[in-house]
């Protein structure tokens, strides 16, 4: 029942998503506004395009909306609802966050802001027979509040043990592997939305800021930093876009890693171009920088995914021909 949405409708959706998330005072209001705009239905009918559009807007606005919960739940075939959240893998990893040990489950992972109000949690658990996913009473997963680097507190780390009997089987049949691939592509779009925002800020600053009697945009060192950022963003964006027509998990992994790398490069260059003002708490730059650092670690990072891919290639002894004309 997946359908394709045409470009004009997508552009309209993108701007209404951006406006809704930019206006919302906090993550739960942003989630509510997205649901009011039909986000859950969009995800059900056009998951690839829907997530790409929403996550680009998420990155561009710097919103802490908990849309990743919906994307992962939908990919696992679980219910998407405002009262429902997911546990995400521990930073830099993509393994299911739960591990069954006897009659307890060790949960080591991340929760989004949605977890504070959710009633049920979807938890992926590594068991002897593979990875399964279960519904768990959200109250069981309350850990200590942690601030972390991100002032928007989009995600926090939890390490808790819960009794195995708290796992309620679900009827849904999505695989953990495909949920990982789906999450990675969505997060790639978020990273790229954020990177484009950072590049836009730095570009405008370079044009507006004059030193030595001219805009700093006239200095080649500045121009090349911004050019390098754009090239990495476009390269990564092309791969993230290709994932829409190609569900290959390796391509999704590459999209996430490339987007993380593009965001890292852009953040470094934008920081340097913004200089003193960009180092202040007053300038908005640091919100995007810190969110980028957090999102980069989700479901594998630009540091960890290349290891994962390289190990896979080494065990195969050859590289697959990805991307067909």
């Amino acid at each position: 029942m997946s359908q394709f949405i045409d470009a004009d409708d997508l552009a309209l959706l993108a701007s209404s998503f951006e406006a809704a998330m930019a206006d919302a005072p906090g993550p739960s209001e942003a989630d509510q506004a997205m649901y009011d705009l039909g986000w859950a239905e969009l995800l059900a009918s056009a998951p690839g395009q829907g997530a790409a559009t929403a996550f680009s807007a998420l990155g561009a606005t710097g919103s802490a909306a908990s849309l990743l919960d919906d994307v992962v739940a939908n990919a696992l075939g679980a219910e998407t609802a405002l009262q429902s959240c997911c546990v995400f893998p521990t930073p830099h990893k993509a393994d299911a966050p739960g591990r069954l040990r006897g009659d307890t489950v060790i949960v080591d992972g991340l929760l989004s802001a949605r977890a504070e109000t959710a009633v049920t949690t979807v938890l992926g658990v590594v068991t002897e027979s593979g990875v399964g996913h279960f519904a768990v009473d959200a109250g069981l997963l309350h850990g200590p509040a942690v601030d972390g680097i991100d002032p928007g507190r989009a995600y926090r780390r939890i390490v808790v043990e819960i009794p195995a009997e708290a796992l309620e089987p679900t009827a849904s049949e999505g695989s953990w592997e495909s949920a990982v691939a789906t999450a990675r592509v969505a997060l790639a779009h978020q990273l790229l939305g954020g990177a484009r925002w950072m590049l836009g800020e730095a570009r405008q600053h370079a044009i507006d800021r004059a030193q030595f009697g001219r805009p700093v945009a006239q200095f080649q060192a500045i121009r090349h930093k911004l050019a390098e950022s754009l090239v990495q963003i476009e390269g990564a964006a092309s791969v993230a876009g290709a994932c829409l027509h190609d569900p290959d998990p390796m391509l999704a992994a590459l999209a996430k890693s490339l987007a993380g790398q593009a965001a890292r490069t852009t953040a470094t260059h934008a920081q340097q171009v913004l200089a003193g003002i960009g180092f202040t708490a007053e300038h908005r730059f640091h919100y995007w920088l810190k969110r980028m650092l957090v999102v980069d670690t989700l479901f594998g990072s630009a540091s960890s995914i290349p290891v994962e891919i390289g190990q896979h290639l080494l065990s195969e002894g050859t590289a697959p021909r990805l991307i067909q004309l």
């Binding site: 570009r203 370079a206 044009i207 001219r214 805009p215 945009a217 006239q218 200095f219 080649q220 121009r223 090349h224 911004l226 050019a227 390098e228 754009l230 090239v231 476009e234 390269g235 990564a236 092309s238 791969v239 876009g241 290709a242 391509l251 590459l254 890693s257 490339l258 790398q261 540091s303 995914i305 290349p306 290891v307 994962e308 891919i309 390289g310 190990q311 290639l313 080494l314 065990s315 195969e316 002894g317 050859t318 590289a319 021909r321 990805l322 991307i323 067909q324 004309l325």
Partner: protein, 380 residues
């Protein structure tokens, strides 16, 4: 013909004719051997019909999408059947000549080029005009029935093997910059042309220094308009960065796969090696994905422009990263070994250093991205 059927039929034909199409030399081979085999493969492809797809019927082609040409080079490079650098000349020069030459001229001259019976070269750079191409000074003066060319070119690849050259000459005042440049299609055997090969640092005679001493070029060899040569040169750039890049991307992909096989066979399964490979691979794939988008724009008849500088930066970065990774993960091999595989790694490593120089340097590409894609205004 639809691209997938074409790829399948071509693949079957290449496999059936593998004996005939595989290079007779092992490893790197001499430049002469490369060029001879390149012509042989081109001719076989042309005569089988495959090599005529994607080119207009007016120049001996069978029509169809330029995607078909992208596919040929991809399959040839994945199988390592012919020299990819020689191949670039046709993809770089033929489309522009078809766009700008009088139709009778291209109908006569382009078919032997497509069939590999001829080689052409590109005479743009001069000793004092590298990145600043618009400052070139090789002059053409109007004379009865044509032009008389005097001056010098340098780094002209493949001229030793070429019959013709797309030449940029100054026809306006010396200070006329890009407004006073004209493009001519010149026969290399014209009296007054002499050249001396220059050996590259990877030990090949890839290019040469060329002198023009009262060389007569008939007026029907004009490409585009008088003083309109800059347009011709600018038309070439997007071609240089579409089909040929797809071909080269296939070569890089194959070499990457070779590297994975060698590292894997050597038993190096550490995370550091894995990470370096993963990082090299991701940029090869990023380039390939970007280039795929570009191939489809070209096939849809869109005018390619400055955004192909992004493709250029991506492929050159991917290429250099790949061969630096090879140097790291095959420790000492390219420095100290002399077997075929080592010689190839050494060759490709050294040649990768040219990637950020030819076809517009890395810095010039970043200038273009900053000015035209980021709209940062003029430089100081």
């Amino acid at each position: 013909m639809d691209p997938e059927t074409f790829r399948r039929d071509l693949g079957a034909w290449l496999d059936d004719n593998a004996n005939d199409l595989t290079p007779p030399y092992e490893g790197i081979g001499s430049m002469d051997a490369h060029m001879a085999h390149y012509s042989h493969v081109k001719r076989a492809l042309f005569d089988s019909g495959f090599g005529r797809y994607g080119w207009p019927e007016s120049v001996g082609g069978l029509g169809g999408s330029p995607l078909l040409r992208a596919i040929i080079g991809e399959e040839i490079n994945f199988r390592d059947l012919a020299d990819p650098n020689a191949w670039t000349m046709i993809e770089v020069l033929a489309p522009t000549v078809i766009d700008f030459a009088p139709p009778e001229l291209s109908a006569r001259l382009v078919p032997p080029f497509l069939r590999g019976d001829e080689m052409w070269c590109q005479g743009f750079s001069e000793p004092d005009a590298g990145s600043d191409l618009a400052s070139l000074s090789c002059r053409a003066a109007e004379t009865d029935g044509g032009w008389v060319v005097n001056g010098q070119k340098i780094w002209t690849s493949f001229i030793e093997y070429s019959q013709r050259c797309v030449l940029l000459v100054r026809t306006g005042q010396p200070e006329s910059a890009h407004r006073g440049i004209t493009a001519l299609l010149v026969d290399i055997d014209s009296p007054g042309i002499s050249y001396s090969p220059i050996e590259t640092m990877h030990g090949r005679r890839d290019f040469a220094e060329v002198h023009f001493d009262d060389v007569f070029v008939p007026s029907d060899r004009l490409l585009g308009e008088v003083n309109g040569g800059w347009r011709v040169a600018m038309d070439i750039l997007p071609y240089e960065r579409s089909t040929t890049f797809w071909h080269r991307g296939a070569l890089l992909h194959r070499r990457f796969s070779d590297l994975v096989a060698q590292v894997s066979a050597a038993g190096n399964r550490g995370d550091a090696a894995a990470k370096a490979l993963g990082q090299a691979f991701q940029w090869i794939v990023a380039f390939r994905s970007r280039s795929r988008d570009t191939q489809h724009q070209l096939a849809a008849g869109e005018q390619l422009g400055v955004e192909t500088s992004v493709d250029k930066i991506l492929i050159t970065s991917a290429e250099q990263q790949l061969f630096e990774t090879a140097r790291d993960l095959l420790p000492g091999v390219m420095e100290f070994d002399d077997d075929l595989a080592a010689a190839l790694w050494r060759n490709d490593y050294l040649y990768s250093k040219a990637a950020t120089i030819y076809g517009g340097t890395a810095e010039i590409q970043r200038n273009i991205v900053a000015r035209r894609l980021l709209d940062l205004g003029p430089e100081s």
